[in-house]
């Protein structure tokens, strides 16, 4: 069997830098106790590690709040979007979101509308450019609009939205602004002050190189977010109600120090390498991939505006073969891993005309090489040629 070519880094980055595995293994073996639940040396060390990770991420997102305790850890970006939406929504609120979104934004809004709590509008994406027009967002604002939720960078087609312009609109209309940075954190700058974002949601296990089971949100100052999960906090245990202090307001239960120690190592690794350096290298590989496959017969690239201001993500569709068959063949015959389907972004696929089968998506990471891309090009070329021959044979039969 040939070596694995992993090109599904947009789902989760793999492998992680060695330091992530190493830190998790040693930290949890040596300090795997419950921070904040006792004052022992081990518990203090675990608590300090969590606090340091908060500070690093608070700074990474350039949160205007003076208090890094508004950097909240969750078990995933999905938990973070749910927390942000349910922690903000009040009866009669109106939300605005976009066709670019992931189901982790779309489904909470849908479910809360079904419950009769809120209403919302979905702003269209231009299928040619893969972009949201900020004017459409501004036009959708109503007096009762509470929050605008925007996918910073698409997990399907890799386009990066005009987050700063949208932030200016939110500021002008005094509307909260949630930026879903699941795909962008660690890839391009996510600067809450520059973008005027009130809440940034991040995944820990993607381009911040932490493990699965980590994620969170950065909450800006004066954001009226309520707790939605209640329990033990290690402080003020006598209170009948859940404490209002950050981070306990939004964090409860025994913290995931194993995962957060890995995230700590991952973010430090990203900062050492330089976000820009990693991104440049990944985009070169995407360019190589496009160069190698764009002229294949019946292949459509779904990567509008590809270039530097783009994520290292490439979706394709091919005549005569479904994305599902493509990924299976790539995996079974060539040991190339990528992802087919709707990638949890159904409105986007409806808009670009790739529903219900979706696309085949490549996601490049920092441990991919030019050889990996060559392998993927060769494999794809062979599979697509065979598919066309088969189709031609079926047609003439």
């Amino acid at each position: 069997m040939t070596d694995l070519v992993y090109l599904d880094n947009a789902s989760t980055t793999f492998p992680k830098p060695d330091c992530v595995y190493d830190v998790m293994a040693s930290f949890y073996r040596e300090n795997g106790v419950s921070p904040g639940r006792s004052g022992s040396d081990l518990a203090v060390a675990a608590g300090m590690m969590i606090d340091e990770t908060r500070r690093i991420l608070h700074k990474l997102f350039n949160n205007p709040d003076s208090d890094h305790k508004r950097l909240i850890f969750t078990s995933s970006a999905t938990e973070a979007t749910n927390l942000a939406i349910k922690g903000i929504a009040c009866q009669g609120d109106h939300f605005i979101t976009t066709e670019v979104e992931h189901n982790s934004i779309l489904r909470p809004l849908y479910m809360l509308k079904q419950e009769g709590l809120i209403d919302y509008d979905i702003v269209p994406m231009n299928p040619e450019t893969g972009m949201i027009d900020p004017i459409d967002i501004e036009n959708a604002i109503k007096p009762e609009t509470k929050m605008i939720l925007v996918n910073h960078g698409s997990n399907v087609i890799g386009t990066i939205q005009p987050a700063e312009e949208i932030g200016q609109i939110c500021k002008k209309h005094n509307v909260l602004y949630l930026l879903d940075a699941s795909q962008t954190a660690g890839v391009i700058p996510v600067d809450m002050q520059k973008l005027n974002a009130d809440i940034v949601v991040f995944a820990g296990h993607k381009s911040l190189f932490g493990p699965c089971g980590t994620g969170g949100l950065a909450v800006g100052p004066d954001v009226p977010i309520r707790s939605t999960k209640w329990g033990g906090t290690g402080i003020k245990s006598a209170l009948r109600y859940h404490p209002d202090d950050f981070p306990q307001r939004l964090e409860t239960g025994t913290p995931n120090i194993l995962g957060i120690s890995g995230l700590n190592a991952g973010v430090k690794w990203v900062l050492e390498q330089g976000i820009e350096n990693i991104h440049n290298q990944e985009m070169k590989l995407i360019a190589q991939l496009i160069d190698g496959i764009e002229n294949l017969e019946g292949l459509t690239l779904h990567c509008p505006g590809i270039g530097h201001d783009h994520l290292p993500v490439l979706s394709i569709a091919v005549e005569n073969i479904t994305p599902q068959e493509l990924t299976t063949r790539l995996d079974v015959d060539y040991n190339v891993t990528c992802r087919s389907g709707l990638q949890c972004a159904p409105y986007l696929h409806d808009r670009i005309g790739t529903s219900p089968n979706g696309t085949l998506r490549f996601g490049v990471g920092p441990f991919n090489t030019s050889d990996h891309i060559d392998s993927a090009i060769t494999a794809l070329t062979n599979i697509i040629e065979e598919a066309h021959q088969r189709a031609a044979g079926a047609g003439s039969a």
Copy 2:
């Protein structure tokens, strides 16, 4: 510095068996991709590992449901209690719980009552026996009672409640029954069929020896539990609403395969050792501890009914020194780690008269030795004698 004596295993077990660290390190390094998001070999292996862990836990709890997919993973027992309570509660429902409970049960009920959604009653604990009287629960049932929530074993005083008798009452009155097995899973049998439990909540990182960041709930057949977190599920991505299928109904976002691989190894280790064997060994150490400290001047044991049917947990209070000072002295001067305070169980401490400072709690685990207990006895003896001398000096000054 002397070797660490870790006696805070009731917060989180530490260390874990070597196999837990080893499996996590190797599994995540080799298979750390997103299961259910592609059909690659690695994704399939990750998916199979999760499925196997579901099966093992489904069987451990003897869930009457034929489908192990109702074994749900969460990021903590607290997330599991929140999910169970919010996923069950409807407008006007009445719940019954007990004074033994942890804040992860008490606070969700309090918050939902504040929201005007539900009402609830808290059944008293007998402070002499540390037990709930099932008759009190039966007497609290109203026509609108939806669910009874009971702490299977106390994290403060170690008493095990008459879970089977309470289950009979729930069955008789057709009321749902949630058993919080955070402290008992892996320590004593938790048999949903025998106990008539509809939902069992468990912590992964306590006596099942998984890492922090793991927990879950076993959901019995015909339990009307709704999803409370919505997003990507890797299936049925085109649906506007969150799918109803188990486990996706209650699980969303990228699964924590790192944590679940550790939980898999931890539960297998417990089953190999034998739950009864581990428990017997731990209770011998608790008996040794009691024997060594029960006659210390001014010391009160809070472990009613101590004996075989008890968790390896012991709370104490001492005249002339707070639990907080005791743990600090034990830690700083003797490298003995235990836990002081209310242990997130404020009603219980009110009832036994130990609020607001709470108690000093010892929690014994399978890697504790007789030497550890001797060290703790010596340390405690010295600290308490000094405290009394200091108090006498202050009195005569």
